[in-house]
Symmetry: C2
């Protein structure tokens, strides 16, 4: 079995989650991808963390890992520009592959690193975790959507600001109050300005612009406005007008080959799919020439989610794709018997409009342990029959269907009752 040796630098939120989840999924990765991922070395400034790791070399000096001849892949998770820039540069030069989540570095110094990684004999560079946490947008753009001719991207790229704005909309309160809440539960930093002022979104937009259009953004020239001036009044009036407010990062390739790039709060219509992206979720909406529109969304932050992207990058470096997908695990599924389904249900009954009918129906449902959550009896149309709309609490499908059969056999019911399951997603 092919084996790959990692040096992981930085045990912050993403670093520790990466180590934990690599150890946890070691067997899964062997089974699915035929690959043995070995953590050879770990580096962190806090030397006392060494005792947590057996059989793994521990160092406080990043360049020990960069210079080790043991290591195939350097996983840079310290963030910031220094020493991350030198670490990645030296690693690539020495032919080591690099995985990083460092969006600030890629936005500031990406073109140097990308050019370096493109050289013969250089290591390769992967950075899926730098945008949208665990959502595979970079992989999807680079290996797929760019073939459809990308015209524009509209992103909700920062979880902190989206959390604040959605909480203002859903639970009320002003900006300051919701920012404080976000700080208390750890969704916002003590100094939240990188997020709040749109700089983090700008960094990610620059990376996406590079992937979509082959152009990095001159950061200081991009139009950037934060969310610090959005008041609860704006949120309220937006709602009344059928909109929500989101911090958007937009890049669009114009016919004259210029790029329209901007980060600012914006109204978007309530019924647009981006309007449903709430809390610390991120999303990217991509418009293409030949394949229409795409939406990708998912958790934009958090160690576990982001470490998935780091691990996917590591696997991709060793295997690119699995030779075939997970064939070794394939066998016929052992299905749950539909008789064991349970749901909440919508029932539409058509009943003769006379006293005692609803009582009869309710009695039958109760006999089969189907509990009613709401009932609305609609106005009678022309016919003798009136529609009755019921939502049930969760019930066994078998019970519900037996009750339905019994109800439909009543002479006061015609035609048979409509049953639709309510999906709890």
């Amino acid at each position: 079995m092919k084996s790959i040796k990692l040096g992981i630098i930085g045990l912050g939120t993403i670093g520790s989650a990466t180590v934990k989840n690599l150890l946890k999924s070691k067997e899964l990765i062997k089974e699915s991808y035929g690959l043995d991922v070995v953590i050879s070395s770990i580096c962190d400034k806090r030397k006392d963390l060494a005792k947590k790791f057996k059989d793994i070399v521990f160092t406080a000096e990043p360049f020990d890992i960069v210079r080790s001849s043991e290591i195939d892949v350097v996983v840079e998770l310290i963030g910031g520009i220094n020493p991350a820039f030198e670490v990645i540069k030296e690693s690539l030069k020495s032919g080591k592959d690099v995985v990083t989540a460092n969006k600030a570095l890629l936005a500031e110094k990406g073109s140097v690193l990308f050019d370096l990684a493109a050289r013969r004999n250089s290591g390769r560079l992967r950075f899926e975790a730098s945008v949208c946490g665990g959502v595979p947008v970079i992989r999807s753009i680079a290996s797929h959507l760019s073939l459809a001719g990308i015209r524009s991207i509209v992103g909700i790229l920062n979880g902190t600001t989206n959390y604040i704005l959605s909480n203002m909309a859903d639970f009320g309160g002003g900006f300051e109050e919701n920012l404080k809440d976000a700080q208390i539960i750890g969704y916002a930093e003590k100094d939240p300005s990188l997020d709040i002022k749109g700089i983090d979104s700008l960094h990610k937009l620059s990376i996406l612009s590079y992937l979509c259009f082959g152009r990095s953004l001159p950061l200081s020239k991009v139009f950037v406005e934060g969310i610090e001036n959005i008041s609860d009044l704006d949120i309220k009036y937006a709602r009344e007008l059928g909109y929500v407010i989101k911090l958007l990062a937009v890049a669009r390739l114009l016919p004259n080959n210029k790029i329209e790039a901007r980060v600012h709060p914006a109204f978007i219509p309530n019924n647009h799919s981006l309007a449903q992206v709430k809390g610390s979720f991120n999303a990217v909406f991509i418009n293409t020439e030949r394949a229409g529109e795409f939406l990708f969304s998912g958790l934009g932050a958090g160690g576990d989610a982001t470490s998935t992207a780091v691990i996917a990058d590591i696997v991709s470096l060793a295997k690119e794709y699995p030779h075939t997908y997970i064939a070794s695990r394939n066998k016929n599924a052992d299905l749950v018997n539909p008789a064991r389904f349970s749901f909440r249900y919508y029932l539409r009954l058509s009943a003769v409009d006379k006293p005692g009918v609803l009582a009869k129906i309710s009695r039958i449902l109760a006999d089969y342990k189907v509990s009613i959550a709401s009932v609305t009896q609609k106005q009678r149309d022309s016919a003798r029959f009136v529609p009755i709309i019921m939502l049930t609490h969760k019930a066994r499908e078998t019970s519900l269907l037996k009750a339905k059969a019994k109800i439909d056999s009543l002479s006061v019911i015609n035609p048979p009752t409509q049953v639709i399951r309510i999906e709890e997603i």
Copy 2:
């Protein structure tokens, strides 16, 4: 430059779009991926199509392509079980890579083909286009999300039924009427039963189940219900209750290792992101153990969209990933000057509540060619100032900002006016 030689079998909707877009993006693929994709042979029953292609071998016999020693990748786009099954089997056995969009075949005979493709010396098999048209769900699951531990998938996997259901909801009319409309514009087949009865969704669900859980579905045992009994009344009541009706394909891995699999119409809450998936769009909602929830959506059908997935598969076979992303094209972006932005705007003014104020404001906006779409003057609170909410038509940002500055300089305005852009996505 690396070169790859294709034999394309079948010139239906997807086949012709694939040929067209491969020729169109030939230079883009060279530039971005360092790969020269050459169409060596094309096969179609209609021999008269031969004259459309110069420098490409044309044949009416699929096995000419399977047996050609010239060809690296066989692109099977004829659909159906026969002769597609034999074509793919023989191609893989002879070591040729295969790209297919054939969901019915993969659902029926996938396990044979996947096992074959997993053998040493066999060709590799790619099938991104078989589920959700142009949306890279298969790639994302296989190379990324499966590492997060997939718990469940909920898909809107069939464009025809989603088109009918969303039109019933948005424009009214019953099932039969909307089905006929869909047939007229070519979104539904003459015999629409595979789509309407949920079979096409089942096929795609089986492929996703294989990827997510390593289990194919025993097709005949899965619970499947179509949309043919959904009435306009159900759609109406769903809306009144805060729901929409979608044809869902659901697969969930239970703790006992069984799989709950089902295809049926279901209510989903209006504010769920899947509820916004309309028309012929497809979407997959994936819940994972370690990385939360993901949504992918995009065009689920149409030649151009689906051909993007076919072409991405072809590129992946030759290059897997680009060595580094599109570095060769990278340079600093030439940005649109924010001064040239134009938007529709939301304005929240705070004005003294006295006669003539609104006239003054409107005058200034008109002077700067900012046209008002709607105005609402809100009830005065305790203060002397009342909020006025305006939506504008599209206006130049520079004009709008000048008008705002002028308005804010009025003594009757305090504090300065809030401006938020309305995003047209």
